[in-house]
Subunit: 183 residues, 2 copies
């Protein structure tokens, strides 16, 4: 399951251009499956070369032409193959956690700034969910609701953990012993 498969999946919802798909990655998919122009355009080129999508060039006045892609029957079959993997991955790549492993090499001020920024980031992310009205939510496909709920739940879990345990990152050895004894 790579960017190509996700593009095919997006096209089952109707024709779209590479630019449209980038928007879609930015607003939703990108939160758990990031992709930029550098992967989207090559993916569409490969899909077209293999006959999994077709495109039509649509001229526009005052704006660049659009290449509007449509999924083919062969593309639908390929998508089904992509969805038949019963052990899809779920990977994390976190500079944040790697950095925290080396917290003992950092100053308390540095650590606090990193933590504060991460909490702000999480708040900004959680705010996105406030805008989704319940009415619209019910019209969303089941899968999308599951995934949105997942994101919200995980983000608020992260926030809770960080808030409750940030203290241990900056506490001295003596404090550490005291904390362990008081437990």
């Amino acid at each position: 399951m790579d960017v190509k498969t996700v593009c095919l999946g997006m096209l089952t919802d109707g024709p779209a251009s590479g630019y449209d798909m980038k928007k879609c990655f930015e607003s939703s998919f990108g939160h758990f499956f990031p992709a930029g122009y550098g992967s989207i355009y090559p993916a569409l080129a490969t899909l077209a070369r293999n006959g999994l999508v077709e495109f039509e060039e649509v001229p526009q006045e005052g704006k660049p032409d659009r290449k509007v892609y449509t999924i083919t029957e062969k593309g639908r079959e390929e998508l089904m193959k992509g969805l038949s993997n019963t052990s899809p991955t779920h990977k994390v790549r976190s500079e944040f956690l790697a950095m925290m492993c080396f917290a003992h090499l950092m100053s308390a001020e540095q650590i606090d700034e990193v933590i504060d920024n991460k909490l702000l980031e999480l708040d900004a992310f959680l705010k996105l969910f406030d805008d989704i009205p319940t009415g619209q939510c019910q019209s969303m496909p089941n899968g999308a609701r599951f995934v949105a709920g997942f994101g919200q739940f995980v983000a608020s879990s992260l926030k809770t953990y960080i808030e409750e345990h940030r203290g241990m990152l900056t506490e001295s050895d003596e404090e550490k012993i005291r904390a362990a004894a008081g437990r």
Copy 2:
């Protein structure tokens, strides 16, 4: 913060070979910052070329030679630069969530198998933490304890969410309406 920086960080704990570092990625770092030979060896080669690490070839009987790397003063400075970024990333790339977005294109059996596998995977991951005795835990650096706790907390949160919400992935439209009404 790339693989090079993490390698430098590992070397602050003492000299190590590329093979040793691969072990370290597999057992701990890899859970939140994956790296294989394909990134470790080129990283070490670049670090050596730039004088951030030095290495010594250690012959062994019956086994291939080891290249044992040591961090240099210049390497320590570079590491500090790497740790000075106050907004480190935390990215997720999830075939699992992407796939669940297209759950409406899948059969209930397919979805159930994917979910069951993901829950088994989470259980296997959570089991890793049972082996860490509390005594050893207290001797770990603060940062490592924070990160380990983070992983455990997030994994059990994921598990809870999936268990409690998997129903909505396979429920029919009528069930969906009934569930919404009963809420």
